[in-house]
């Protein structure tokens, strides 16, 4: 036991790390650093360094690399191969085509219009172009083309409904209610259920013609058809060579008036060749040859021949 107790805290020799005396760093930027920093604050310089230089480097490297023909060709090949690989994936394949709402003829035409053989990649089918091509068909009013999941090319077709037959110089055509051509027919008898119109410009006024056919009502069985006159007005042609000439304006009302006359007085059952309603306030009737000859006979006048001329009696004259 030591004689002297040292109550002082034991002196702990602190290990003085032999570090070099710390040089106080000068907080001031050096002249070069100062100038660079100020230059960096110039907007033009900044933009050139940040955008211009990288863009130039990228363009230069790309240009140098692409300047070789072989590399360009191989790059092209690689790209097309990747494109092909992606496009020919099973998920993009179109297996079959369904057509709804089309007659067999149209169905067949549609299937033949498809530019590729199924199954094919959906990238090869240009739906917009196909749709435009299909719309060239007169029989189709609208078509909804889409590729459904499961690889089905679905075409929902709405066909035009023929409303009238139009006889013109080239033959007989079926028109729909808007006057658009649907198809040609070889003869009137193929579609005897459709009314017939004829004359230049008749296809432009199909709606009027249909309204007139509706208005004809009771005399419809006798109606042979409507004739467009001078692209202006209609003649309603009946059998037995009778014809009702209708005005350009208010044709429907005039026709209804004629029908009313017929119903009241059996007008059309008589020997009339023409009912002229072109002036609605002054209807004019043209009698048939027989009726006129009956009148002339009663009046002791010379009779008319079938061509409407007065028969001169050669015996009398001679």
């Amino acid at each position: 036991m030591p004689l002297i107790t040292d109550h002082r805290p034991s002196r702990q020799p602190q290990p003085q790390p032999q570090q070099a005396p710390r040089v106080k760093r000068d907080p001031a930027p050096s002249r070069l650093q100062y100038r660079l920093e100020r230059m960096w604050l110039k907007p033009l310089y900044r933009r050139v360094v940040r955008i211009g230089l990288p863009a130039f480097l990228i363009a230069m490297i790309a240009g140098l690399w692409l300047s070789d023909d072989d590399r360009r060709a191989s790059l092209n090949e690689d790209l097309t191969a990747i494109l092909q690989k992606v496009q020919s994936r099973k998920e993009f394949q179109v297996q079959m085509m369904t057509v709804e709402g089309a007659s067999p003829v149209v169905d067949k035409a549609l299937r033949s219009m498809l530019p590729v053989d199924l199954p094919a990649s959906s990238f090869e089918i240009d739906l917009a172009a196909l749709r435009l091509q299909v719309m060239q068909l007169d029989a189709i009013e609208s078509i909804d083309l889409r590729i459904k999941p499961g690889g089905i090319l679905s075409a929902v077709v709405k066909e035009r409904q023929p409303a009238v037959l139009w006889r013109n110089a080239r033959g007989i055509e079926m028109l729909d209610a808007t006057g658009h051509r649907v198809a040609s027919v070889t003869s009137r008898d193929v579609r005897s259920d459709l009314p017939l119109i004829t004359g230049e410009g008749a296809d432009l006024k199909v709606d009027e013609a249909l309204a007139l056919f509706d208005a004809a009502g009771p005399i419809l069985p006798r109606v042979r058809g409507l004739v467009r006159r001078g692209e202006r007005r209609w003649d309603l042609v009946l059998d037995h060579g009778q014809r009702i000439m209708l005005p350009a304006d208010g044709a429907q009302i005039a026709l209804e008036a004629a029908v009313a006359l017929d119903r009241a007085q059996d007008m059309l059952g008589r020997d009339l060749s023409v009912v002229d309603l072109r002036n609605p306030s002054k209807p004019v009737l043209r009698l048939g040859i027989d009726a006129r000859n009956t009148i002339r006979e009663a009046r002791k006048q010379p009779l008319l021949g079938p061509d409407g001329r007065i028969i001169t009696d050669e015996n009398k004259g001679g």
Partner: protein, 444 residues
């Protein structure tokens, strides 16, 4: 003086160019710190009424977008002593402010606090041939002021027309178009040591900056810290700086006198260091944290650990009372105030209608200074902070930044100086084309 006239004129042009570019820097090179503000100007006043700062004193058309301050180096008594050191300090502060602002500063307005300023009141008089004061008459009456010999190597820092008089009517601010036979003017000229200005210009040029204006620090801090009434009715601004104490006397919104007492805060620090035997950084800490000028009984019990790293336990564990610190500081502060008193007496401050005294600068933050100043200088004393300007961070709004703020106001709206007027025609060399042009313009 014509070459300085041309330099000042060139600086005004640079200032105009800087305002057109919209960015101007403020460089307040003091003895203890260097502050740099970056101002963005817009002519349209977009920055109006933001942050509670209204368009009070024409400070509405600019905004501080970057500010930095650093310890000053190489400056002694307001003059640049070691140019390389000062240049490094300027680089530091400009880099920091630019970083905050995000724009490059090319033009700066600087202030000079030392350089032994000397004020002169000049008077000039001409007779009016036309019976009416024309634009060019003002220039010629300013040129007619008889300048005394300023001494060798003195340069004019400010030359402000303070007062115009036509016949008997004095106190005109703008005598143009007044009818009379005689035009007289009073001009206040502040000259400083030419070498001090030259060193400052050289330092700033070496930092790749262009000088767009130069002002006296005491003038700048007075513009920032005195309110309009004090400038109008008469007042003095006392800027307690590190290397010197600037005094400027204002009346009718013009500085009429400026001087510098060459005792500043650094000397107080030195006194504390010597008196209490502590190192200068410790003395600076004692001064700023525990300093004061009015001792109370409590201050004797208020012991401050001095600290130190001499290795001598006795020395490092010393404590001084706050009363000791105050006892060292107070005589020096009194000495400063006595010096200021002498300067004010020399300026004839007692004859001003209002004798408001505004204390500003870093030294004005000594607690109890206003009480001591009231005993020595006069009853109307207040401690002034700089005017609030838009965008200035809060820590830069204390009194030590008043000269920086004043320089910002100076950049925005400089008062008319002699070089803002046209050169009188007869000062041009004979046979000069401009002289002929001026003669034609004035006579037809």
């Amino acid at each position: 003086m014509p070459e300085l006239y041309e330099t000042q004129r060139a600086m005004r042009n640079i200032r105009r160019a800087a305002l057109q570019r919209g960015v101007i820097g403020i460089l307040d090179i003091g003895t203890s710190k260097i502050a740099c503000l970056v101002l963005r100007f817009d002519g349209t006043g977009t920055f109006r009424e933001t942050d509670g700062v209204g368009p009070m004193a024409g400070q509405a058309n600019f905004r501080v977008i970057g500010a930095a301050s650093t310890r000053s180096r190489g400056v002694r008594r307001g003059e640049i002593e070691t140019m390389a050191e000062t240049e490094r300090a300027i680089r530091t502060v400009v880099t920091a402010a630019q970083k905050v602002a995000g724009v490059r500063v090319d033009h700066v307005i600087a202030c000079l606090s030392g350089g032994r300023p000397a004020s002169y009141g000049l008077a000039g008089e001409i007779s009016l041939a036309a019976g009416k004061v024309h634009e060019y008459d003002i220039a010629s009456v300013l040129a007619a002021c008889d300048a005394p010999d300023f001494g060798r190597g003195r340069e004019v820092l400010h030359a402000q027309p303070v007062n115009f008089a036509v016949d008997n009517r004095s106190g005109l601010a703008d005598p143009r178009d007044h009818v009379g036979n005689k035009l007289a003017c009073d001009m206040h000229v502040l000259t400083v040591d030419g070498d001090a200005i030259g060193n400052l210009i050289q330092c700033i040029r070496r930092c790749d900056l262009e000088l767009a204006g130069i002002a006296s620090a005491s003038y700048a801090s007075a513009r920032a810290s005195m309110v309009e009434d004090e400038q109008e009715l008469g007042g003095a601004c006392i800027d307690f700086g590190g290397g010197g104490t600037g005094v400027s006397v204002f009346i009718r919104k013009h500085m009429i006198f400026s001087d510098n007492v060459r005792i500043g805060g650094n000397l107080i620090t030195q006194d504390i260091a010597q008196g209490l035997r502590v190192s200068l950084p410790v003395a600076e800490r004692l001064k700023t944290l525990n300093g004061g000028v009015e001792a109370t009984g409590r201050d004797d019990r208020d012991m401050i650990e001095v600290g130190g790293d001499t290795g001598d336990w006795e020395s490092d564990r010393r404590a001084v009372s706050r009363g000791d610190v105050i006892g060292v500081m107070r005589p020096r502060v009194e000495e400063i105030l006595e010096g200021v008193r002498e300067v004010l007496d020399a300026a004839g401050f007692d004859s001003l209608p209002s004798q408001q005294i505004v204390l500003t600068g870093g030294g004005s933050q000594i607690p109890g200074l206003d009480g001591l100043a009231a005993r020595i200088l006069g009853p109307n004393i207040r401690c002034g902070r700089p005017l609030r300007i838009d965008g200035l961070a809060h820590q830069l709004t204390d009194p030590s930044f008043s000269s920086a703020v004043g320089l910002a106001l100076f950049a925005a709206h400089p008062q008319d100086e002699w070089w803002d007027f046209e050169i009188p025609a007869d000062r041009y060399p004979t046979r000069s084309l401009r002289r002929a042009y001026r003669w034609f313009r004035n006579n037809w």
